[in-house]
Symmetry: C2
DNA sequence: TTGCAATATGGCTAAATTGCCAAATAGTAA
DNA sequence: TTACTATTTGGCAATTTAGCCATATTGCAA
């Protein structure tokens, strides 16, 4: 792969990889609704606080979220709302897959 | 996390994870332009043919590409063009990150 | 049939990711 | 100051991923 292209795809992959986790997708979706502090997200996800904190740092490092410290709490917001449009495309893939699975089942049962 | 939600985010994450690799992003972009056989993609990427084959099987398994065998060759096509719209959003993130980096540099040099 | 080309699969090691616990840090409040 | 809460960081073990080589498999052609 040409070197400039490689760099470009690596940069993209880094961002997409940051999204590629169930908990981080939940975080993205909830932050799209409104800002949340770490404790709130931790409760929604149901994992250790340190785990959630690491997820948030991955999202922040990719430039997908912003953080805003207010006293003891740190509020996170979604930095790039256009991400949410992508989710409907992903849902399209999921339902296309499901339809295809159904078609295969129907066909093979006769 | 509630169980139905968890399943949904896992399904999404599986698809996004399938995209989250530089070589697979190149494949997606090239297949968006036009169909390609494995050999062509292998040459573009510059990795072992078996490696590229595995990338393709990951994409296929996620429902992102279709394959069509014609004689000795297997042609792959992009199954979900809406994915490409997402790339411009990813590029937005990248340039926003770059701008922010610049701002930080300027500020700290005085 | 044999031989060759294209692609896929198995196996292996190295590297990255995940998630928990424990400990550090930062902020508030007494 | 001490105590308490929120969040982050370090460390570790388990799992997953990546990429190469070697080996199937498939299809064409002689």
């Amino acid at each position: 792969m040409k070197n400039t292209l490689k760099t470009r795809y690596e940069a993209r992959a880094k961002i997409i990889k940051a999204m590629a986790h169930p908990s981080r997708l939940l975080i993205i979706e909830e932050l799209n609704r409104k800002e949340h502090c770490v404790g709130e997200l931790t409760e929604m996800i149901g994992a250790d606080a340190s785990t959630v904190s690491k997820h948030l740092s991955i999202l922040k490092n990719a430039g997908l979220v912003n953080d805003d410290k207010r006293g003891n709490l740190i509020f996170y917001t979604l930095r790039v709302p256009c991400i949410m449009q992508f989710m409907s495309c992903v849902e399209d893939v999921i339902s296309a897959n499901a339809r295809q699975q159904n078609a295969i089942l129907k066909c093979c049962r006769g």
